[in-house]
């Protein structure tokens, strides 16, 4: 079924978070009034990106990353036009011009830059095509979205949105129960690490902010980034005693209440 909408209503952060958590494969098309962007994913990881008419060939990416000289770039364009990116990458590595790490890190930087530019979009339609897999003639990466989400969340400056996402600082954070997430592998900022060190269902965000001398917006921004990246989730602080369930059946014993609910169930079934 459809996964489409407008970034105005469903932010890029939410969208990437969904793709990441659902481990989706396919291509996300985003389009505003002037540019169309493709982001291709495999099992929830970013594999390929194309930003508008921008030259996203491996040669252009390496040249822009200063891994190739202008002469080398020109030569490749003249002589290597029949080669696809995979063949070119292999040739450059085997010939000793570049290391495999040079190629991969340049591609990674490019994908990162595409996503970060998308964070500047305030609106644009999006559509996720499950049937369009990353192109096979391109070098596909397996870029974790968590870091991209955290990086993007750093750019979310709208205090109103943060307040909307985290209306109260009385809530606490706890690590998500996801064995595939290793916090040590995340590229967290110093501020984020400081907050992570306080993550505990017993500590409210307000207390963490006080302990770290952060203001409300700062703690919200960090918490929002960590939540969106799927590292932590928001919970009520443990010491808060939950209010007892008020079932709306006053003056009735638990047995009478249960009996009443069973009668309602019987009646609804017979409708």
């Amino acid at each position: 079924m459809a996964l489409k909408g407008n970034l105005r209503d469903f932010s890029l952060t939410q969208l990437l978070n969904l793709i990441h958590l659902a481990k989706k494969s396919g291509t996300l098309f985003l389009e505003n009034s002037t540019i169309q962007v493709w982001l291709a994913f495999r099992e929830g990881k970013l594999a390929y990106a194309k930003y508008g008419d921008e030259d996203n060939s491996l040669a252009a990416i390496l040249y822009n990353a200063r891994k190739l000289t202008a002469n080398q770039f020109r030569t490749i364009q003249e002589r290597g036009s029949s080669m696809n990116d995979k063949e070119l990458g292999l040739l450059l590595v085997n010939a000793g011009y570049l290391t495999q790490q040079d190629v991969l890190s340049s591609l990674q930087e490019y994908l990162n830059s595409v996503v970060q530019r998308l964070y500047a979009w305030v609106e644009g339609v999006f559509y996720f095509d499950h049937d369009r897999l990353p192109p096979t003639d391109k070098i596909n990466l397996r870029l974790n979205l968590e870091n991209l989400i955290i990086e993007g969340a750093r750019r979310v400056k709208e205090v109103e949105q943060l307040q909307d996402e985290i209306p109260s600082l009385d809530i606490a954070l706890k690590f998500r129960d996801r064995p595939d997430t290793n916090v040590k592998n995340l590229r967290l900022s110093k501020e984020e690490w400081r907050v992570v060190s306080f993550v505990n269902p017993k500590n409210s965000l307000k207390q963490i902010a006080q302990a770290l001398k952060m203001n409300e917006t700062e703690i919200r921004r960090v918490a929002y980034g960590l939540v969106q990246a799927g590292v932590v989730e928001m919970v009520r602080p443990e010491r808060t005693t939950p209010r007892p369930i008020t079932p709306g059946i006053p003056n009735a014993s638990p047995q009478e209440q249960a009996s009443l609910v069973r009668r309602i169930i019987q009646r609804i079934r017979s409708l």
Partner: protein
């Protein structure tokens, strides 16, 4: 006569009124007004105070279904409506992701009013633009323990299923509380 109350809440145009109308044995007492805000002209009328439906359980008990107004400017009604409810249903329009954040916010607001059992109904699942339930679960940030159910508010069997799932949840929590 004993009365029991359930609340149907959710964002604007999620299908709350239709949901109640589908199972109510009386004509829903609906306080709908013509929409004047251009941005909300998805439909012609909207609920400004509440919808009110009824199901007679037996000679002694009546179940009332209250639908809340979807727009934030009427949220002063929510706390009043939530008082003493058996549980609540959060209706979400599966085709309008722009309302998911609002739905999440409404859900949290109602949880704060009264931590009673609840289910989330993904309405309009019969339409081609409807989001997958699992995608909605992630977008709405619903824990796997929260019941997110497919719904077509105009279909009686679908509405019955939602009501029954909420009642099972109520019963379960009562039994857990008694244990």
């Amino acid at each position: 006569m004993q009365t029991v109350k359930m609340v149907v809440t959710g964002p604007f145009n999620a299908g709350k009124t239709a949901f109640i109308k589908t199972v109510s044995e009386i004509d829903v007492v609906s306080t709908e007004r013509k929409i004047t805000h251009e941005s909300e002209k998805v439909k012609d009328t909207t609920t400004v105070a509440m919808d009110f439906g009824r199901i007679t359980i037996d000679d002694d008990v009546v179940l009332y279904l209250f639908g809340t107004p979807g727009q934030r400017r009427f949220d002063f009604m929510w706390e009043i409506l939530s008082e003493g409810m058996l549980g609540f249903i959060v209706m979400v329009d599966s085709c309008r992701p722009e309302t998911f954040r609002e739905a999440r916010s409404i859900l949290e607001t109602f949880r704060a009013y009264a931590p009673t059992p609840y289910v989330v109904a993904a309405n309009k699942q019969d339409l081609k633009d409807a989001w997958d339930l699992e995608d909605m679960r992630i977008a709405l940030r619903l824990d796997s323990s929260v019941k997110l159910l497919p719904c077509v508010a105009t279909d009686k069997e679908s509405v019955k299923t939602i009501l029954l799932e909420l009642l099972y949840q109520v019963l379960q929590e009562m039994e857990d509380g008694a244990a």
